[in-house]
């Protein structure tokens, strides 16, 4: 096992990794940018090193600096978390060259699965179904146009090195294509440092079901079942649950085996997620491999009892997986809600700023993975994720009820956030019935926007607080008026000081 690990990330995931390290008795080195000098994750690290200015390119995406800092700190391995450099094959190679272990897949497998286009070819070859679309990269707009025509609109433009919905655009006609490709390129460049995008047929109203897989360097492979991630806004998941309502045992076993085949075909090591789209007729198509620990990994941990981040570290250290496929099972039901600094009532516009009040929910079966504290500033430079609420209960309906109440008692004041919006999803009949797809949010928008039924109660509360504030203001104004009336010659003389030296 390693003695020291550098965690090349920030926010809740850096905290999550630090916790796993602590439990393994491994020392941690945290990193931070200028704006993050008092960020929450640093409180969990044994050591912390500044790695650059606030823009991600200067700090959390700065490969050279991060490797340099790792070598100087004496850390033997780097955990990249998710986002930033997590799926950057160039970074994984730089680690290998520097003699540092990258806690993730080997750089060759990472390059393969990171290249969405190449991985489609690999997967097609082993007989796992893929969505029709481009099987090569190009700058030529005409090739995009021809492919779109061939598979038929609507199509989807995706970042080749993408993930997390960044750089993704649905295109409905020829006129939009060029600007969507350009926008996708810009977003991809900023999120992943590479602007290549490709195009495939857009599957309408699918469910998004993914399988968690672990594979060690000895070739042992096990899947830890599915996560249903169909509740998305702007192609980004905001709620995930497991087990999925869409799978029966037979389909679950079939998809699990397909997921393992994909991981083996890519000679992939460490934790990976194989994403599938499931259409209305329960046909599944390979989407991509997410070569990282995922934001939604905790729900798998809750139902299987397997600590995924600890396994990532153990596999990277060369240890064998001792889990056997027929010994892992799903127990109960888990849901995750992602808390974002954004305004659901205003097109999910990001809302950076200061958190004035923070109260986290607690109780049986409730877990909060957080990256914030009361009084912290949420900087505008990074992803708006603040924290995640994860619940576990014996049944799905108990789990939904538990989440609804956990969200109701999660207080974040000072910046706009999506807590109320997430709670309304939990309370929506269609979600409770479990028969939903990736367009759920668009189709149920009307039910999900706050009706402000509670404005009366909120106004009463505000009235009490405001009246006290006003009293203080008035008192101050009064004092000022008094002062002006009693102006003395001293004041009229202006600035003066007592003789000192």
């Amino acid at each position: 096992m390693f003695k020291k690990i550098l965690i090349a990330n920030r926010g809740e995931i850096a905290v999550r990794v630090a916790r796993a390290c602590r439990e393994l008795g491994v020392a941690t080195v945290g990193v931070y940018s200028t704006t993050d000098k008092s960020a929450y994750h640093l409180r969990f690290m044994d050591d912390a090193v500044w790695i650059g200015d606030s823009p991600p390119q200067a700090s959390y995406l700065n490969i050279e600096k991060i490797i340099d800092v790792t070598k100087k700190s004496g850390a033997e391995a780097i955990h990249p978390g998710y986002g930033f450099l997590a799926e950057n094959a160039q970074f994984a190679r730089a680690c290998e060259d520097a003699g540092v272990v990258f806690i993730g897949p080997n750089s060759k497998a990472l390059a393969l699965v990171g290249d969405k286009v190449a991985s489609r070819t690999t997967v097609k070859a082993i007989g796992v179904p893929i969505i029709p679309g481009m099987e090569g990269l190009t700058e030529e707009m005409s090739i995009f146009k021809n492919m779109a025509k061939e598979v038929g609109y609507p199509v989807i433009v995706k970042a080749s090195l993408g993930g997390g919905g960044k750089g993704m655009r649905i295109v409905y006609n020829d006129e939009e294509l060029e600007s969507c490709v350009a926008a996708g390129r810009r977003e991809a460049k900023s999120a992943f440092g590479d602007d290549s995008v490709y195009l495939e047929k857009y599957v309408d109203r699918p469910r998004h079901v993914e399988f968690q897989v672990l594979r060690d360097h000895q070739g042992n492979v096990v899947h830890l079942f599915e996560r249903e991630c169909s509740i998305q806004r702007r192609h980004q998941k905001i709620i995930e649950e497991t087990p999925s309502q869409a799978l029966d045992d037979k389909l679950r076993a079939k998809m699990g085996e397909a997921a393992k085949k994909v991981i083996e075909a890519a000679d992939y090591t460490n934790a990976g997620t194989v994403e599938f789209l499931l259409d209305e007729n329960k046909n599944f198509y390979f989407l991509e491999v997410n070569a990282r620990v995922q934001v939604e990994h905790p729900i798998t941990e809750m139902v299987t009892g397997v600590d995924l981040v600890r396994h990532q570290i153990m596999i990277a250290a060369g240890e064998r997986i001792t889990l056997k496929q027929d010994e892992v099972s799903q127990h109960g039901h888990a849901i995750e809600s992602r808390i974002y600094a954004e305004d659901p009532e205003n097109n999910f516009l990001p809302s950076p700023g200061k958190i004035l009040t923070l109260v986290e929910p607690s109780g049986p079966g409730i877990r909060v993975d957080s990256g914030i504290y009361q009084g912290c500033d949420v900087p505008p430079q990074y992803d708006p994720i603040l924290s995640k609420v994860i619940v576990w209960a014996e049944t799905r309906s108990m789990s939904i009820s538990r989440m609804s109440h956990a969200l109701q008692h999660y207080i974040i004041l000072g910046i706009r956030n999506n807590i109320g919006f997430l709670k309304r999803i939990m309370d929506t009949q269609k979600f409770i019935e479990g028969n939903y797809h990736t367009h759920f949010l668009d189709e149920n928008e009307a039910d999900l926007i706050s009706k402000h039924d509670d404005i009366g109660i909120a106004l009463i509360a505000a009235t009490f607080i405001a009246s006290e504030k006003k009293r203080v203001y008035d008192a101050r104004a009064g004092t000022r008026a008094e002062l002006q009336k009693s102006m003395t010659p001293w004041r009229e003389l202006g600035h003066w000081e007592i003789c000192g030296h």
């Binding site: 977003e187 900023s190 009040t357 004041l413 706009r416 109320g420 509670d454 106004l459 009463i460």
Partner: protein, 165 residues
């Protein structure tokens, strides 16, 4: 005591009166509440209304009051100062565009003197990895560009100004 609270674009006139241990709250002369057992501690206030006890977290910051209730957070502005503005569509602000959020000015695809049509993209601002396109409120000619690509900008600062015929 009488004063005004603003929630998004709605203004509420409220009065608060204390009589012994009871409080009367009147909102817009129509909603009338009788509240008792008022307690304020640190960042939480409690009161009783119609047999129900409410425990409500709040925060204060300059001219704003934040109240959490039922999973939602309500942001009230005191007196007649306008709201956070994020709500107010950029289009309403006449002859310039500004970003409703602080961020990085990624692109200004227009130059001084350009003739632009209503809805044309005048600037692209990125915050928290989301790109927001700011569009021309009406037809016009680009009169002033106050920032350059790569600048960090604050919310509600005019980025591009137009001459509107």
């Amino acid at each position: 005591m009488e004063f005004k609270l603003q929630y998004f674009d709605k203004q509420y006139s409220v009065t608060l009166e204390k009589k012994d241990d009871l409080y009367g709250v009147v909102i817009n002369d129509e909603m009338k509440y009788q509240v008792s057992d008022f307690v304020r501690q640190q960042n939480i206030i409690s009161f009783r209304l119609n047999e129900t006890i409410y425990n409500i977290y709040f925060a204060e910051d300059r001219d704003k009051v934040y109240v959490a209730f039922g999973g939602d957070s309500f942001i009230f502005d005191l007196e007649k100062r306008t709201t956070a503005g994020a709500r107010r569509p950029v289009e309403e602000r006449g002859n310039s565009v500004s970003s409703p959020m602080p961020g990085l000015l990624v692109k200004v695809p227009v130059s001084l003197g350009d003739k632009v049509a209503a809805g044309a993209t005048l600037a692209i601002v990125e915050a928290m990895k989301m790109q927001n396109e700011l569009r021309a409120p009406s037809d016009g000619i680009v009169k002033k560009i106050n920032f350059k690509e790569g600048d960090q900008i604050d919310a509600f600062q005019p980025i591009v100004e137009l001459d509107i015929e």
